[in-house]
């Protein structure tokens, strides 16, 4: 089997589905007695299992706390484990039930939002109840998000746990907004593919054994890496009913679902043969009342079609279905800590041929947009390994997102409304009194693997300035375990012999997790040459400092314990620029004059600073 798509299919028996309370509570004659709801929910679970097994796919059954009180659900899990090899695991979703509410006296249901004391008590309750039912502890668990404190606690108490659903990719302010500002999964900034979380922060992959939290994490669903960047993640993933939610179907057809699956298969090209899918559909998505505009029949058909596609791939030897526990073992055998995850993702929905390149390692998650000349449009400094606690009693009750330095949609990017700057990393080129920005040069990219270095090579772009035409090519080089990205801007040719163009490699950044600004006070900007250094303590005063022959321009952002720097060999000038209240950003820049066949090389470096 060459580069099989590795698949985790997860089902959870819910006795009181998430959808049920709102649907029944809001009238419309849909109210059902709880016994009937539990029956329907278990039947949906049974149907999902049947569809998977019919297609030769084994599953991971994630028992909910509520289902552990159902003899029928427990018996079903045991039977399917014995007959089909399904793993019996334990989810921390699906907590609400009579027993839970009587004990905890709350309607909260998201494990990461509870106080530490409640998290510990709930974990003990559900794990011990699981043991009581099955006679062993689970190897796998999960929720929409598992914070680092929670994972560390589970590993300390139940060391046999080795796999967890630990985040929903890019489910943050966009999901909150889409849900009429009522769905508090603020979880942006994590990996899109499996990873080993660090003990310090779940989103940030471990750099070594010391940081290893002991689990292999998988994301909740495999999502479209372009559509999710500017849209609700819950419309664009390997969840057939999510595709229906996005209205991405016509005449009962939804080729988009299969395009997502196939593009994930294609990611093997960038990851030394590794490619992965996860499908996890809660029973509420296949309920008899229909969901969104889709009737029950279409909800079920979409699940059957999705699973049939996986089954067909398996029959062709192009897919390997695993339980979560099996996958954790496989992942640890095939990956090392510094191994990056790469994805050169193309638009498969809007017809634009736009490409994003995503790169994730223990130091950073970075997104590059080829539609903006290869500008960096998202940057998460994992190097800081922020030990951010979440839940009641901490500073962040709900917000579990890993902070960004750059997020071109939340903080404007290249285009602003006629004042100030937005977060972006790009390059300005000037000649003869005219200037342009590579953000305005749409291009495409190609990937290559040089062993220790992954390379993203962009197609050359043409620029016209003051009667001169030049061809410029960008190359990104990601060296494993370096915490730095090398950026090469090369002038391939110019129409004016001997002409020198001024290149300004720059990065405009701030910090945050949402669309709204944070206080930039305490940020320190510094520019350094071999024998001098100048600094600015951020005070919203529009100041700039520069040095000739600078070797680095950097920002210390203590709020996120991060130092970000741009380094350069051969710069004529380096600068740092403070923002102002209407533009709460900072800019780091390196300038050089280069001509035909010459290259400006800079390094973007991320470090922990506390």
């Amino acid at each position: 089997m060459t580069n099989p798509l590795i698949l985790n299919v997860i089902h959870r028996p819910e006795m009181l589905p998430e959808y049920a309370e709102t649907v029944t509570a809001q009238g419309g004659g849909a109210a059902q007695p709880s016994g009937a709801l539990a029956r329907e929910s278990l039947e949906i679970f049974r149907l999902q299992q049947e569809i998977a097994h019919k297609n030769g796919i084994k599953t991971t059954i994630q028992m909910t706390y509520a289902s552990l009180f159902s003899d029928e659900a427990v018996a079903l899990a045991k039977q399917h484990h014995e007959t089909y090899g399904d793993e019996i695991a334990l989810t921390l979703l699906g907590l609400p039930c009579k027993q839970f509410r009587e004990k905890y006296k709350t309607k909260d249901f998201c494990i990461w939002m509870f106080s530490k004391a409640d998290k510990a008590a709930i974990v003990e309750d559900v794990f011990e109840k699981f043991f009581e039912c099955f006679g062993f502890y689970p190897e796998s668990t999960g929720s929409y998000y598992m914070d680092a404190w929670l994972i560390n606690h589970i590993k300390a108490k139940y060391p046999g746990v080795k796999c967890a659903v630990a985040t929903c990719f890019e489910e943050g302010p966009k999901a909150y907004h889409t849900c009429n500002n009522s769905w508090y999964t603020l979880l942006d900034g994590g990996p899109w593919a499996p990873w080993i979380p660090s003990k310090q922060n779940t989103h940030a992959p471990a750099a070594n054994e010391e940081e290893d939290c002991g689990l292999v994490a998988i994301p909740h669903l495999s999502r479209d890496l372009i559509a999710c960047f500017d849209g609700n993640g819950s419309n664009f993933g390997t969840h057939p009913q999510n595709v229906l939610r996005g209205m991405i179907y016509q005449d009962g057809q939804y080729p988009y679902l299969f395009n997502i699956i196939d593009q994930y298969r294609h990611l093997a090209v960038y990851n030394r043969g590794f490619c992965y899918n996860m499908m996890f559909v809660g029973p509420g998505w296949m309920n008899k009342l229909g969901r969104w505009e889709a009737p029950y029949e279409l909800l079920v058909k979409s699940y059957e079609d999705g699973m049939a596609y996986y089954g067909a791939l398996k029959k062709k030897g192009e897919l390997a279905d695993m339980t979560m526990g099996e996958f954790a073992d496989h992942y640890r055998k095939t990956h090392h800590y510094s191994q990056p995850e790469c994805a050169l993702w193309r638009d498969i929905l809007y017809g634009s041929e736009k490409q994003h390149f995503w790169y994730c390692d223990p130091y950073m998650r970075i997104t590059i947009d080829m539609n903006q000349g290869g500008a960096v449009i998202d940057l998460r400094p994992y190097a800081a390994k922020l030990e951010t606690e979440v839940g009641i009693g901490t500073k962040y009750v709900q917000d579990a997102s890993y902070p960004f330095l750059i997020q071109a949609n939340y903080r404007a990017g290249y285009f602003t409304h006629y004042a100030g700057e937005g977060t972006i990393k790009s390059c300005k080129i000037s000649y003869g009194g005219e200037e342009t920005d590579l953000c305005l040069c749409r291009t495409k990219a190609h990937f290559s693997d040089e062993g220790e270095v992954r390379v993203l090579t962009l197609d050359p772009v043409e620029i016209e300035l003051a009667g001169l035409t030049a061809s410029v090519q960008t190359e990104y080089r990601f060296r494993e375990d370096s915490g730095a990205v090398e950026v090469r801007r090369r002038v391939l040719s110019t129409s004016v012999p001997g002409a020198k163009l001024k290149f300004c490699e720059y990065m405009t950044a701030c910090y945050g997790t949402t669309e709204y600004p944070e206080d930039m006070k305490d940020v320190v900007l510094s520019v350094a040459s071999q024998n001098a250094q100048k600094s600015i303590g951020y005070a919203y005063r529009c100041r700039e400092e520069s040095l000739d022959c600078a070797v680095s321009a950097s920002a210390l952002v203590p709020q996120i314990e991060t130092r970000v720097s741009m380094e350069c060999l051969g710069a004529n000038r380096g600068f740092v620029r403070e923002g102002y209240a209407f533009s709460p950003m900072f800019t780091l820049g390196m300038e050089a004059e280069i001509g035909e066949k010459e290259t400006l090389t800079t390094w973007l470096r991320l470090e922990k600073a506390n």
């Binding site: 991405i248 593009q263 969104w292």
Partner: protein, 71 residues
């Protein structure tokens, strides 16, 4: 007039959908129309379905099966 209910399916407001907001509409049986409690959209089931069709304008590849992922 009796209070509104949910209708036979939980239709979302098509006007809000195109601005990335999922909000269920309620059904006014007397006027035989769905209406949004957030924005001013209201319309019959046929109008909702028509607007939902229009909302798909951005999905140019909605029916395209893609086989090559390198561009």
């Amino acid at each position: 007039m009796a209070q509104a209910g949910k209708g036979k399916l939980n239709y979302r407001c098509p006007s809000c959908f195109v601005r990335d907001i999922d909000i269920d509409m309620f059904y006014d049986a007397q006027k035989e129309e769905y209406y949004c409690i957030r924005c001013c959209y209201h319309g019959s089931e046929a109008d909702v379905l028509e607007k939902n069709r229009l909302a798909r304008f951005r999905y140019r590849d909605i029916l395209r099966r893609i086989e090559r992922f390198e561009v």
